[in-house]
């Protein structure tokens, strides 16, 4: 059974002419052990999706289940841990007091509580500052405390909203390993982030959201199996990039030229020959793995075309 199920989940805000859809007919399932990345531009619906699963806001229509229970019910809430963006922790408490408070609600004995708090401190590497008041924490420290808190409350589903941003690269690397370990212990982890490289490294699967709609649901292993030809163009050739975009399905503009997916038998040689034919001067070309950014740019481009 999937731990997380969303079927035609829609959430709108406001009424009448001011009504705005934050999430539209979102459907997906996630099993234990999966790490699902959620990427998309600002306002795509990433945080809304996580807040619905955590029970913070209700659905307008559709179904969302956690371990078979409707989201927002007490039974479902007790299985979900969320690290929201920005982190929400009382500034008056110390990190240890906050974790101990949360652990008390998930423990049957003092010993179990101490173990939960100890594990959480170790997971998020909080030992150096956990005794200090939260009001004195830096952004990175708060993010780590938020991750530890989510690990305590989310025994089955972990929702991380930009939790790994603002953390130094070395700690970031170790925290990624910890998140993978949490997933290996049977949790579903949903990670919403703008840091595409981090999502590529962490997630087993990625949902691309744009305008509240799921535009793509891609396994990260598939990204490695696909190749992209990246052409660097300058001057007048850049103005002709539109012809390449029209000719090759899935081609997108990059900062310096065009990226063309190599699928359906298309080769770099064919593309370069076509450029010569159309008198498009190519300054440089290279072949790389398909990046999450390509999928995101294509999805947002599709949204712009629909609009």
């Amino acid at each position: 059974m999937s731990l997380v199920v969303m079927h035609d989940a829609t959430r709108t805000f406001g009424h009448g002419r001011r009504q705005r859809a934050a999430l539209v007919a979102c459907s997906f399932e996630a099993d234990a052990g999966e790490i699902v990345g959620i990427v998309g531009p600002n306002g795509a619906g990433k945080s809304t999706l996580l807040r619905i699963l955590s029970g913070t806001i209700a659905l307008t229509s559709g179904v969302a289940l956690v371990s078979g229970f409707r989201v927002g019910t007490r039974t479902a809430c007790r299985r979900v841990g969320i690290a929201p963006d920005p982190p929400v922790v009382p500034a008056e408490l110390t990190g240890a007091e906050w974790l101990s408070y949360l652990a008390s609600h998930r423990s049957r004995s003092v010993r179990q509580r101490a173990r939960l708090v100890g594990d959480a401190i170790e997971t998020a590497e909080l030992a150096d500052f956990v005794g200090r008041r939260v009001g004195t924490y830096s952004r990175g420290m708060l993010q780590r405390l938020s991750l530890a808190a989510a690990a305590i409350t989310g025994m089955e589903v972990l929702l991380l909203d930009e939790t790994l941003s603002g953390i130094d690269p070395l700690v970031h690397r170790r925290l990624r390993q910890q998140v993978i370990r949490l997933a290996e212990r049977g949790r579903v982890v949903l990670v919403a982030s703008h840091d595409l490289t981090a999502v590529e490294r962490l997630a087993t699967r990625v949902l691309v959201l744009a305008g509240g709609v799921v535009r793509a649901d891609v396994a990260t292993s598939r990204l490695l199996a696909e190749r992209v030809a990246e052409l660097t163009l300058t001057g007048a050739a850049l103005a002709c990039a539109g012809r390449l975009l029209a000719r090759y399905r899935g081609a997108v503009r990059t900062g310096t030229g065009v990226a063309v997916p190599l699928h359906g038998g298309v080769t770099v040689e064919q593309i370069l020959a076509a450029c010569r034919e159309d008198r498009i001067a190519v300054v440089a070309s290279r072949v790389r793995y398909r990046a999450l950014e390509d999928i995101l740019v294509a999805a947002v481009g599709a949204e712009a075309n629909v609009a």
């Binding site: 078979g68 229970f69 019910t73 809430c77 969320i82 009382p90 500034a91 949360l102 609600h105 808190a149």
Partner: protein, 236 residues
């Protein structure tokens, strides 16, 4: 519900109140009132001073317990049995109200009225403070902590006026007079607390009923989603 959950709520209730600036100001205000009343030989007005100080402390403490932000979000996050967070937190806050109220009773009531009256006054003021803490606790998730605290403070400070005085005050405004007098009779105001000291059981019942009502409304307000949607329990 485990004993650890309740204990955790009592502890966090105490910490949220005891470490917040607003409560520190309220304690300073209460001691200033006690000093002022003691220095000016308050006599019969001593109990009214005690009631106003205790109510103010309660209103300020209560507004923190389910304040929008981390205190409120934490209730949803731990998903405890519905009555545990508000009741536990109120109990934690009440522990910090007790010594201030006891000090007031010791300084203002005991010298003139003796031990018996001082203890009764302290218990009454503690219940009155807890009642207003429960009321502002219930209002905070709906109106915000600042508004809830302000409403509580205004009610506590104006509540010493008796209903007959309100009736006289609004003699010219018939449409306002009736609802105002009705409200003055129904709300847990200071004049009623002062009367409760003379032994009327009905006044005690009303104060405790408001305390219980505040906790129930607070629990409801804290457990609903932030946009007010309705959630149903059970497997789908």
């Amino acid at each position: 519900m485990s004993a650890l959950s309740l204990q955790a709520e009592v502890v966090i209730g105490g910490l949220l109140v005891a470490r917040h600036r607003a409560f520190h100001f309220a304690v300073a205000l209460a001691f200033s009132l006690f000093l002022l009343a003691g220095a000016s030989g308050a006599g019969a007005a001593a109990i009214h001073t005690m009631i106003v100080a205790a109510g103010s402390l309660g209103a300020v403490a209560g507004m923190r317990l389910l304040a929008p932000g981390a205190p409120l979000v934490s209730v949803r996050r731990v998903a405890a049995t519905w009555w545990v967070p508000p009741a536990g937190r109120l109990a934690g806050a009440a522990l910090f109200l007790a010594p201030v109220i006891a000090a007031g009773a010791l300084g203002l009531i005991w010298p003139d009225e003796g031990w018996g009256m001082a203890v009764r006054a302290a218990i009454l003021c503690w219940v009155f403070a807890a009642t207003w803490a429960a009321c502002t606790l219930a209002l905070a998730p709906l109106l915000g902590a600042g508004s809830a605290g302000a409403i509580g403070l205004i009610a506590v400070w104006l509540g010493g006026i008796s209903p007959s005085a309100v009736h006289q005050l609004l003699d010219g405004a018939v449409y306002l007079q009736r609802p105002a007098v009705l409200a003055w009779n129904v709300l847990p105001l200071g004049w009623r607390a002062a009367r409760a000291l003379s032994g009327s059981a009905g006044d005690w019942v009303l104060l405790v009923a408001w305390l219980a009502g505040g906790l129930v409304i607070g629990a409801w307000a804290a457990s609903r989603p932030s946009d007010g949607g309705v959630l149903r329990e059970g497997a789908a």
